[in-house]
Every structure is written in C-alpha cells, then in structure tokens.
C-alpha cells in the first residue's frame, strides 16, 4: 500500500489526522496491551490490580479504563531502592535490558528513578520527532542544546528526536551561559530548547554582559520551551519572542510519562499526542471525568507504548482544559486550551484564597518596565498571611516606581483577589536560574515550599 494522504505538514499524516473515534479505538487496543504486559511482567502492577480485584481481561470498553487504579509519584518512590535495584519491582523487563537511567528533579520530594530499554528510548525520540516536526523543525535546522546533559531527562530525548528529523545537533552541555550564546552566534544556530526562565535569562546575559541583541545578532527562529508553565503564559511568551526575534513553542512531558503534548506552529494550545498517550481529564473536586471543552480538570496520563517502567493512569497533578475550537493545522489530536493551567502541587491557600503562582507571573511579565525576574514570599505576620512581591525595574525606569507599584497592586488584586507588599530591588540582584526557577517561597511553616 502506498501512502497517498501525506503532506509535509505532518510527521505521520495517518495518525495525526485520524478521526477521533478511530483514535479512541487505537487507544483502547493499546491500553489493553500495555495493561496485560504490566500485569504479566511487573510485580508492582500485578499487586495493584490484584488488590483492586481487576484482571486485564476486565477492560473491554473505553469506559472500563476508569476501573483501573491510578498511580502517583509517591507510589513510585515507595517501590524504588529495592530489588531489582534501583527501580524496584515496577520494572517489567530483565534489568540487563535497561540501557538508559534518568530521574526526576525532586522538586516535590525524593527523585523518582526511571528505566528505559532501547525500545523505550526509540519511543522517546519518536515522541519528540512528532513535537519538533509540528513546530517547524526540518533537516535544514541547526539545533543548539544549552542544557546540562546529566541525570535529568530535560532535553535528552529531544536531542535524539532532532537527529531523527535530520537536524544538525549541537550539544552545549558544559559551557557556561556566555559561551553558549557565543557558540550559538558562531555556528549560526537556528533553534534551541530551554526552560522559559533560561530563555529569558540567556537574553538578559546576552544583552547585559556580551552586548549582543539576540533578535538582531543571532539567527534563532524557533525556540521550544518546557519544564515550567511560562510557555503557556501569554506575557512570558511575548517577552521571549521579542527578546529572541523567534517563535516560541511549548511542549509538555514528564520523566515518568514521556513527551506527551506540544504546540504546533498555529500556537492555539497544546496538542495531546493521542497516538502515543491516553490523557483523561478528571474533575479535581468530584472525581468526575470531563469530556467537554472549557472545564478544567486534573490530567491522568497513560504512556501507551512504554514497556520497561510502564506508566498507566498516572496522576500528573497538572490542571488543564480542553479547547473549544479545532486547530487550523488539521491535526485531530485534541487541544488543551492555554496549555497546563497549573499544578495542584503549586496551588496554595493564602488568606483563605487559592493562589496559583502562574497568575502572579502573568501580571509581572505583562509590565514592560519590569525585568524578567521576580520573587514571591508568603509569611505569617502574627496570625495573618502576608505576601511580598519582589521585582526589579529595568535600568532607566527607576522614576516609574510609584506608578508601577500602584498598577501592580491593582492588577494583582483583580487577578488573584489578594493584597501584596511590593518591594523594588536593584536590577540584577534577585536570584537567576539556569533550569527551573524557585520564585515562590512559602515561609509560613518554617520552611520553603
């Protein structure tokens, strides 16, 4: 059979334009397969399902999938460190078949170890090939990777995904930020990948320390961001695109799951890669499953083809909502409107009000007189919660402090229903981060969140 439906818009024109009902049929078939595989090969999963009175043959319809117990990060932490070391009995292949070790960053506690076989590693890079192709990467691109190639998955699989597309890949691992910028300029890199924090931080260093205007002096036309919600925050995206004179596209993934979602060149939301992943949306309060657009819920994700350390109905703690409109790109993969709205782990109650740090970022990054960095501290003053927002005015804007302060207080009140103390700090004195930023500090229980 010859493929006649293909266009160069898609990495896989068959899967990416498959009608939704056929995608559901494919997902059910694959879910049944990975469930059976895990039941037969992972003592962890067999125990979990046995305790729930469930056998793989019980899953006959798409709705049956909801009978399968969910897993979460704490369960993965509990089994690891045991035989077969260090992954524990979630491992579903002989340990001799494991060729890749990575771990989570440990932002929310003990890092989770992750094993992959060659087959899984090929699957990882394939998932990235879908992402990069949809974002316009082609074999003419020279892609720079300014991240520490270490135990964290970060952009490891993106490196191999870009190779698969035929891109020329330049590893910028142990170079410092200045050297990375100069190397990107020297080799005339056309694209790079980083966290939103580092995209802005590199721009700041290029201008401030090297006298380089990234938009004028470099040839970057595409940036892929991950690891933080900034790619989905319009004000942060605008800053990144203006700084670099490039299009910025978001991607979402996790060490335990894989690279499961991406923006295409139409930037109308995050496409779920429904050929490789099953994403269910659950009401965070009632547990009811959400199928209608515009209603936020918690994402429960299954990696449909990952075998060494299967990921079946993983509670990602991410909150998102389906989009109303279809994407103009023609992909039938469902869209998450506005990307990942928040993480349930990040939402904190302050003065009795639920506060999402992304709301503060949206306000701060929307004020052009302010620098890219900021910090939020919540502390107890007597019995009351007290929020302080530290910001930097960009050089030359010092005389606008009064107006900016008043605007910030008003906008934050509207956006978050809370009052803030605003502190101005000298430009360049707030902490800078190379990977994921820690800008929200909750000091109320004697520690930092």
């Amino acid at each position: 059979m010859m493929v006649t439906t293909g266009t160069d818009k898609y990495w896989n024109p068959i899967l990416e334009t498959l009608p939704q009902e056929k995608l559901r049929a494919l997902q059910l078939k694959k879910f049944q397969r990975i469930l059976k595989w895990s039941y037969e090969n992972s003592p962890f999963y067999r125990r979990l399902y046995h305790d729930a009175g469930l056998e793989p043959g019980d899953i006959k319809t798409f709705d049956d999938i909801r009978k399968v117990p969910k897993i979460e990060k704490s369960m993965l932490r509990e089994v690891q460190g045991k035989t077969p070391y260090p992954y524990g009995d979630i491992l579903s292949v002989p340990i001799e078949q494991v060729v890749e070790y990575h771990q989570t960053s440990g932002t929310t506690g003990q890092p989770v170890y992750q094993a992959d076989t060659w087959q899984d590693w090929e699957w990882w890079s394939e998932a990235w090939a879908y992402i990069l192709y949809a974002q316009g990467y082609r074999d003419s691109d020279r892609v720079f990777f300014p991240f520490g190639y270490n135990v964290f998955i970060a952009f490891w699989a993106a490196h191999y995904g870009a190779e698969k597309l035929g891109c020329e890949v330049i590893p910028g691992g142990v170079l410092n930020t200045e050297a990375r910028i100069l190397k990107m300029q020297e080799v005339r890199a056309t694209a790079f990948m980083a966290t939103p924090t580092y995209v802005l931080g590199m721009g700041d260093i290029a201008r401030g320390r090297l006298g380089i205007d990234p938009a004028r002096d470099l040839q970057i036309k595409t940036i892929t961001v991950a690891g933080e919600p900034g790619g989905s925050i319009p004000a942060t995206r605008k800053r990144m695109e203006e700084t670099w004179g490039a299009r910025v596209y978001g991607h979402v993934g996790a060490t335990e799951i894989g690279a499961w979602g991406y923006e295409c060149t139409y930037q109308s939301g995050l496409h779920i890669n429904e050929a490789l992943f099953l994403v269910e949306i659950e009401d965070d309060q009632t547990g009811e499953f959400i199928t209608e657009p515009g209603r936020p819920g918690r994402l429960i994700i299954t990696a449909l083809d990952r075998t060494a350390q299967p990921c079946i109905r993983f509670d990602s703690k991410d909150l998102a909502q389906l989009g109303v409109a279809e994407c103009e790109c023609g992909r039938t993969f469902r869209l998450l409107q506005g990307g990942i709205i928040n993480r349930t782990d990040d939402i904190t109650k302050v003065k009795g009000v639920l506060l999402a740090p992304t709301s503060i970022e949206e306000v701060v990054r929307g004020v052009p007189e302010l620098g890219d960095e900021y910090e939020v501290t919540v502390a107890k003053q007597g019995d009351l919660d007290d929020i302080t927002l530290k910001v930097e005015l960009i050089p030359g804007q010092e005389n606008t402090a009064g107006t900016i302060k008043s605007n910030l207080v008003d906008q934050l009140r509207v956006k978050t229903n809370l009052g803030y103390n605003i502190e101005f700090h000298e430009y360049g004195t707030l902490p800078r981060y190379d990977v994921k930023a820690k800008r929200f500090k909750d000091l109320r229980r004697g520690g930092e969140k």
């Binding site: 498959l18 060659w118 590693w121 394939e126």
Partner: protein, 50 residues
C-alpha cells in the same frame, strides 16, 4: 506496509538466531528491532483500525 514491516522483523530476528551470539550482530539487531517497533507504532498498530 504492515506486511513489509513484519517481514523485515522476521528477517532481522532470523539474523540474530544465526549469529552464534556474536555481540556485534546481536546488539545491532536489538537496535534494529527497537526501530522496527517504532515502525509498528506508526503503521502496523493501525492496520486493523483504518
């Protein structure tokens, strides 16, 4: 395409069976099988659905 992928997989598996456990063959066959699995994900898994 699914049939061609299946035939390639069969041939590669046969290559491993006749290798006499020569690592230079077996390990490269493992890599080929991993790539073939991705072809199955992209093509063969769909065969009974489209």
């Amino acid at each position: 395409m699914a049939q061609t992928i299946e035939a390639i997989k069969k041939q590669v598996t046969e290559l491993k069976e006749m290798s006499g456990e020569v690592q230079a063959i077996d390990r490269n066959v493992e890599r080929m099988l991993a790539s073939i699995r991705v072809l199955e994900i992209n093509v063969s898994d769909l065969a009974d659905i489209i």
